[in-house]
């Protein structure tokens, strides 16, 4: 009945079309626009704020730039950092993945269960397969059934969290590993005093940055966000790419959850609530546009580190940790408003 082209052209209305077509009109000085685009693209704003924060922090507190502090901050943010990779890719296509927090919890439970029954290799494989299956559901509903990503992944946010509660009997069944096991070492182990999750996070950033910037798959990802209809007309594999991206996002969230479960030597069903929002915040602060078509993983890394450093500063100030969210929220608004003022000229 419906040819791929037809179905792809017919829908595809992004949830939040705020009329942001202002940037296409040529009136603002081209040079400034181009400079702003470069700034935005690589999250230079986020890196700048990060540098300022680190310098100020180091001047105020000698312990701030200590190796310990750095290691802890990096380790604590490597999980959300891995989640933010998938989120960035999905957001570049103009989509969103709200299910990552729930999938993170699922990854922990599946990883620990598989490890205890079949060993660490099975744990990694099972986590990728089970969480990837959730991503497959998201991707099929978004890519083929053409439903709004926001709603599809909102549904899986509920559904997967429910599933996690169900298999843990609402937390009554504990899933834990012995702290000497190889699996636990994935989370607690160190190489040259640096935690293994940090290495894995960095490696994943390198791999996916290369995929995004250097492969046809990455180009297709940008093309979908830039204009889905055009991408279809160019003959790009839009639907297949979308499905793959949601699978990647879910698999990465699951792996991150598995690593954190390894670090904590147990899986918790209530972990990672709200991670989807933290990841989105980091991605946006890093300069990736929610409207799709522009963004970078370097920027996202800056966003994650910036939010993590704010966290560390608040710890250093010995403030109530609830201030974290207040400052992060204020930062998010500031960065987005600045981006907006710097880059767009509203023409309405």
């Amino acid at each position: 009945m419906t040819t791929p082209t037809e179905s792809a052209v017919a829908g595809g209305s992004p949830l939040m079309d705020d009329g942001g077509e202002g940037y296409r009109d040529g009136s603002p000085a081209g040079l400034r626009a181009r400079a702003a685009a470069v700034l935005r693209r690589n999250g230079v704003a986020a890196f700048g704020a990060l540098a300022v924060l680190i310098v100020v922090g180091s001047l105020l507190w000698p312990s701030f730039h200590s190796a310990d502090n750095l290691r802890n901050t990096l380790l604590g943010n490597s999980y959300i950092g891995i989640v933010a990779i998938g989120m960035t890719l999905v957001i570049i296509t103009g989509g969103i993945d709200l299910s990552v927090g729930s999938v993170f919890a699922l990854g922990g439970v599946v990883g620990v269960y598989a490890n205890n029954n079949a060993g660490p290799v099975a744990a990694v494989l099972a986590t990728i397969v089970v969480c990837g299956a959730v991503g497959l559901i998201n991707g099929m509903l978004v890519g083929f059934a053409r439903m709004a990503p926001f709603i599809v992944t909102l549904a899986t946010l509920f559904g997967v969290r429910g599933l996690v509660y169900q298999i843990t009997n609402a937390g009554a069944t504990t899933y834990s590993v012995t702290s000497e096991s190889f699996f636990a070492h994935l989370g607690t182990g160190t190489i040259a005093t640096i935690g293994i999750p940090i290495f894995l996070a960095v490696a994943l950033y390198v791999v996916f940055h290369t995929v995004l910037e250097r492969t046809p798959f990455g180009l297709t990802t940008f093309a979908i966000g830039g204009g889905e209809d055009a991408a279809v007309l160019m003959g790009l594999k839009v639907r297949r790419t979308k499905v793959t991206l949601y699978v990647i996002s879910a698999a990465l969230a699951g792996i991150a959850g598995m690593l954190q479960a390894a670090q904590l030597v147990s899986a918790s069903p209530i972990i990672a609530t709200g991670y989807e929002l933290q990841a989105i915040a980091a991605v946006v602060i890093g300069g990736t546009l929610l409207t799709g078509g522009a963004g970078s993983l370097i920027g996202t890394a800056a966003g994650v580190l910036l939010l993590g450093t704010i966290n560390a500063v608040i710890r250093e100030l010995q403030l109530d940790s609830t201030w974290n969210n207040v400052v992060s929220g204020a930062f998010l608004v500031t960065v987005v408003v600045l981006q907006r003022l710097l880059i767009y000229r509203r023409n309405d």
């Binding site: 909102l154 429910g162 929002l277 929610l290 207040v326 929220g329 204020a330 998010l332 408003v337 309405d348």
Partner: protein
């Protein structure tokens, strides 16, 4: 052979579109009737006046929040800050509890409106996407509430605040009246005022609205202010019913519940349409569905999974409309 098929093809296509449109507009009512019928037959002691009253009271807060959300979604936006505004509103009631009750409630509503003003300013004037503009306050609002309460859950003793929940008129629970007032207000605004029409115009096509003289920015600000005030009102109701302020649990995840109710109620996420009665019916449907499952001793986990299926089904129906 081929010509009847050619005639039947388009006709059945039209029928299908009509059926789908009917299902989208009335699906929530059908589901509600079916659920009640199921319970009449299979769940003893479920459909009793007492239990229905309890169920209705339980979903009053979601109804109030959902109505504000429906208006925002009508402009093709979204308001993630509502749950945080509820928590903040409860925390403010504690701060103001030495005031006369009416003044304390009014102040909480004013602050809710100010949060909406901030959201609306970011969306309407600065041009930030609604999801991000309101995400910021989702982070900040609940933490502000926690800081205001310094981690405690103080009880409220102010009689007039508590009366929102404990009072009753003609035997009808105060919370039901509080929600009914909100429903009537939103229905009036959407059906009888210029603002309501402008809201739909902006949601339908903000560019065209602007060009035809609709005050787009002012309308957007108004919508978010409305949503903020309704969320604060839900926070007052919540605080009055549990007789204490709890920054951690009050309104938690309400943004998601509200979006669910709006979507299941048949309001399209693309804007231009707001279904007030459908939203109320959907909020009641989700509540009844959940308690039906609990009556049949399903766990909360199962009910979350079923919620997910209901959302997908509701949006699937809308999707077909979008293509037809």
């Amino acid at each position: 052979m081929s010509s009847p098929a050619a005639v039947v093809g388009p006709t059945s296509g039209l029928d299908r579109a009509a059926v789908v449109r009917w299902a989208r507009d009335n699906g929530v009512y059908v589901a509600l009737v079916l659920l009640i019928a199921y319970n009449l037959i299979f769940t003893p002691r479920f459909i009793t006046p007492e239990n229905l009253n309890v169920q209705l009271v339980l979903c009053t807060r979601i109804i109030v929040v959902s109505l504000g959300m429906a208006m925002v979604i009508g402009t093709a936006g979204i308001d993630l800050s509502v749950g945080a505004v509820m928590a903040l509103s409860g925390a403010l009631l504690v701060q103001f509890s030495s005031f006369p009750g009416g003044a304390a409630i009014a102040l909480a509503l004013v602050v809710g409106g100010m949060v909406g003003l901030l959201n609306g300013f970011l969306v309407g004037f600065v041009g930030v996407q609604p999801i991000i503009a309101t995400l910021a306050f989702l982070f900040a609002g609940r933490s502000l509430a926690q800081l205001l309460l310094s981690g405690k859950n103080p009880s409220i003793h102010n009689e007039s605040i508590l009366a929102v929940s404990s009072g009753s008129i003609f035997g009808i629970n105060g919370l039901i009246i509080a929600a009914a007032v909100a429903v009537a207000l939103v229905a009036f605004v959407m059906r009888r005022t210029n603002f309501g029409r402008q809201l739909l115009a902006v949601g339908d096509n903000s560019r065209a609205s602007y060009l035809s003289g609709v005050p787009v920015r002012r309308t957007l600000i108004g919508v978010y202010v409305f949503s903020g005030i309704l969320a604060a009102w839900a926070g007052v109701m919540d605080t009055a019913s549990i007789t204490s302020a709890n920054a951690l649990s009050s309104g938690l995840n309400y943004e998601l519940f509200a979006i669910t109710a709006v979507v299941v109620g048949g309001t399209p996420l693309t804007g231009g349409r707001v279904r007030v009665v459908g939203t109320v019916a959907a909020a009641i449907l989700m509540q009844l569905l959940r308690s039906t499952l609990i009556f049949h001793s399903a766990t909360d986990a199962i009910s979350q999974i079923i919620t997910a299926v209901v959302i997908i089904a509701a949006v699937y129906i809308q999707r077909v409309r979008a293509r037809a």
